[in-house]
């Protein structure tokens, strides 16, 4: 906390308050006001998070900007917030994407604008809360509360099969969460009556309990990541969600699951994490290779990017469970980069969909002829998605592969195939959509990006290139926290 100013609380509650204000503008007669209010709220929401980065002390793994108040004294539950090198960047990422999502839905969303914008703002605050919570119950409350706006976003503004996708999304994630809740309550009783996550890190737990807790956490986090084989909700949710929903899902919500592994599974049950790391690595590699192949076969652009996300997140979990600094830092960088790149790709597809109302690759062809500026941006993001050096996508993947070589050459070998598959499915899609002769008269009538869209893509392009060419500002923040986490995880927590 700087000068006693609760930055994190403001970062959480400012978007939520603006969200409620936006909701209160009511029906679509005031749509323009709702949009402007939402934009103001989201930009302010991003601005207040900047001090978290500029004021961050990178040479300690202690929690910073800590806020601690009594909340439910009966169960010694606290309103306990704070950030370390692992979580701070995700808070910025979340706040960064909210204005982009608001802008992306500016014209396209015509019905129930206030509810749409309000949901996104509220969700943005809740997601920041997930990353900042240091009390297990507070974390759980934010974690579950996230489901409600997302459920509505997919269900109200989504595509044809939206109801199925929304319900599947909700129930899948709730299954995992409820098991996690039991595990958290068990830990509360083991730790002698504390719900602090940092206290959980110190509790000694016997091996069989560790394994059960790991499994409970696994269900909660693996569903969100999503890891093979609990990934099947994601393509449905992505395909049916509106553009903004897909962006938030891919850019931020998937990161929440991976973050959970770092904050809960690995430090709380390190022995079980080591014991089961083989399984986790196997599942990660299956995601990387098999889901990469699945992505190759997609005829729907959004589904393709959705599968590509699962494949990339496989990289992230691989990086975690090889237990070395390269792997873990690479995985974190990959998470941030994937946030930018997949968000940008979904926005690109959104741009096409807004004009053509189709996501089928076969309906396109020769878009470069009518939308040259768009084609250039799309090219950059497609390259970043396939991990081209110089883009953000390269840094994380390279470091994870480096880490994997240290652990086991064949892990690295299997993971490196993604450089081929990733390039294959992304660029093949790009070729079919953008290049060639103009496919039909719909494509011939396409108009290029307008100023609003150019602004969104320019911001993202600068970030993707900047992170690719100079990743130091991102990696230096997390360095100490990652090393400390690895030291912590290396210690056994079995009772003596």
């Amino acid at each position: 906390m700087i000068f006693g100013f609760p930055i994190i609380s403001v970062a959480i509650w400012l978007p939520i308050i603006f969200g409620v204000l936006v909701l209160s503008t009511g029906d679509d007669k005031n749509a323009q006001m709702a949009r402007i209010l939402a934009l103001v709220g989201s930009v302010l929401g991003f601005l207040v998070t900047i001090p978290l980065y500029t004021g961050f002390v990178a040479d300690t793994s202690e929690m910073q900007f800590v806020e601690m108040h009594d909340w439910i004294t009966r169960f010694s539950i606290h309103y306990h917030l704070g950030v370390d090198g692992i979580s701070v960047l995700f808070i910025l990422l979340t706040a960064f994407f909210t204005p982009l999502v608001v802008l992306a839905g500016w014209q396209v969303i015509e019905k129930r604008v206030a509810q749409y914008m309000g949901s996104f703002l509220i969700m943005s605050g809740i997601m920041i809360g997930v990353f900042a919570a240091l009390d297990a119950v507070l974390f759980y409350v934010f974690w579950e509360a996230m489901l409600i706006p997302m459920f509505l976003i997919i269900g109200i503004w989504g595509g044809a099969n939206r109801v199925y996708a929304a319900v599947k999304f909700f129930l899948y994630t709730l299954l995992g969460s409820l098991l996690m809740l039991v595990a958290l309550i068990y830990l509360y009783n083991q730790s002698g009556g504390s719900f602090s996550i940092l206290d959980f890190h110190q509790v000694a737990i016997p091996m069989n309990a560790q394994i059960l807790i790991f499994i409970a956490f696994f269900f909660a986090f693996a569903v969100k990541v999503p890891m093979f084989p609990v990934h099947t909700w994601l393509p449905d949710a992505h395909v049916e969600a509106p553009t903004g929903g897909s962006v938030v899902l891919a850019a931020i919500m998937l990161k929440v699951g991976a973050y959970g592994f770092l904050r809960f599974s690995m430090p709380i049950v390190p022995d079980a994490s080591h014991y089961l790391s083989g399984v986790m690595i196997a599942l990660s590699l299956i995601a990387v290779v098999y889901i990469g192949l699945v992505a190759l076969m997609q005829s729907d652009m959004k589904k393709l990017v959705a599968y590509s996300s699962i494949s990339h997140m496989g990289f992230v979990t691989l990086g975690f469970f090889i237990f070395n600094a390269y792997g873990m830092e690479g995985a974190l960088l990959q998470m941030i980069s994937h946030g930018f790149v997949s968000g940008a790709l979904f926005l690109c597809i959104g741009v096409l969909y807004d004009r053509m109302h189709s996501r089928k690759i076969a309906d396109y062809g020769g878009v470069a002829n009518t939308m040259p500026v768009f084609a250039a941006f799309f090219m950059l993001f497609a390259m970043a998605n396939s991990g081209l050096p110089g883009t953000s996508g390269f840094v994380g993947e390279f470091m994870v592969i480096l880490g994997a070589v240290k652990a086991n050459f064949w892990y690295a070998f299997a993971a490196a195939t993604t450089l081929i598959f990733g390039a294959a499915y992304t660029l093949w899609m790009y070729k079919r959509v953008i290049f060639g002769a103009v496919a039909n008269h719909h494509v011939a009538e396409l108009t290029d990006l307008n100023m609003r869209e150019k602004l969104i893509f320019a911001v993202l392009a600068v970030t993707v290139l900047g992170m690719g060419l100079y990743p130091l500002p991102f990696s230096e923040v997390m360095h100490v926290s990652v090393n400390d986490l690895l030291v912590h995880v290396a210690r056994s927590k079995l009772p003596l």
Binding site: T73, A145, I148, G155, V163, F170, L171, L181
Partner: protein, 483 residues
Amino acid sequence: MDLMTNWMSAGAEIFLLVMVCAILIADLLIKQSGRLVTYMLAQITLLGCSLITVGTHENGVVYAFHNLFVDDLMSDVLKLLTYLAMSMMLVYSRQYLTVRGLFTGEFIVLALFAMLGMMVMISANHFLSLYLGLELLSLSLYAMVALQRDSAIATEAAMKYFVLGALASGLLLYGMSMLYGATGSLELGVVSNAIQYGVADKNLLVFGLVFVVSGLAFKLGVVPFHMWVPDVYHGAPTAMTMLIGSAPKLAAFAFATRILVEGLQPLVQHWSGMLIILAVASMAIGNITAIAQTNLKRMFAYSTIAHMGFLLLGLLSGGVEGYGSSMFYAVVYVLMSLGAFGMIMLLSRVGFEADTLNDFKGLNQRSPWLAFMMLLLMFSMAGVPPTVGFYAKFSVLNAVVQAGHIWLAVAAVMFSLIGAFYYLRIVKLMYFDAPESHEPIAVGQDSALLISVNGLAVLLLGLLPGALMSVCAVSVQQSLLLH
């Protein structure tokens, strides 16, 4: 024990009885058009009761009327909540009953008599007073369900309710008589001591216990004694369903704790095993069967069964955590149930009951505010934070884990997951589907205000649940003399 203490500790009950009789007579002189006067009198009575309950509150536990009656913190808290629930019930149902011609003096008088029964149950310290309170409550409810004379379905429901309720009362009495035979007393504390230190016949005790638990299960409506619940909930006019589904659950909680904890604590290893079976079966059957319902009132009936199963989980875990969480669960459940049935009544019109799932289609387009309130209530019933329903489940689960039944907790959350589906379906209908009718929703100002307060209370208590949780825990701790 002097006379004054006796009268003081039962002050609210006595005042209520006097007022009910006065209202009964006054109502004879009032024309149907002036029925509002009766209604206002009833609300004033409730207010008076709460003032008396607060005013006569004494620290510690006070026994009165030869230990038939007990006045402790738990009874005072539960009574105050009962008044609140009854008052809300009256507000919600006024318009609904008026357009159906059911807004009569009988309704109000019977409701108040039912409340008197609940209060006696809450404050009973003796098998006889427990039974008297229960019968006063039940008989009033039978009559209220049958109040809509020309409705075949309501009459059928009343008949079923009466026959099965009488059977349950019989079981309960039979069990009590066996316990009396074994211990030689009907007073809860004496029974408990006799079992603990005496040489009571173990077989007879357990036999009596089985009957008492069965009778209790009937009244709570838990599996396998739940068959009356869906029919009664469905058949009764919604206002009566709301009454049955709300305040009596508080009394039922008190009834169960008084018998099982104050009276039969030494037999805990026997009854906690029975409760595990009842609880798991209720959560399973309740949640799974609710999915198949298209009628909202039937769905809520099965959902009640599942919720009562959850409530039993707290009871069987024992200790301040267990009983406190159970009480908290009952209070939260009453709040949610009032809101849910209130919403059904709000959407109903003359000659039309909004009690099927389709009636909620597209509510977000017809009235975003009401849809949002219902959304809060449904997520609360499903136990999703940041609503108070989550903390109810959370505190019960915590008690269950503390008692060492981790697998029971896992089973409970799995059944909650199944339950989430049908609550989610209502949200889905309200938000994702197009409305079937565009008829404007005519809502009285009082009930519109109340549903807003009710829905927001579910949210605000979800953000700051600590106070209510502590009140429940402290009152249980003081009253049941736990440490």
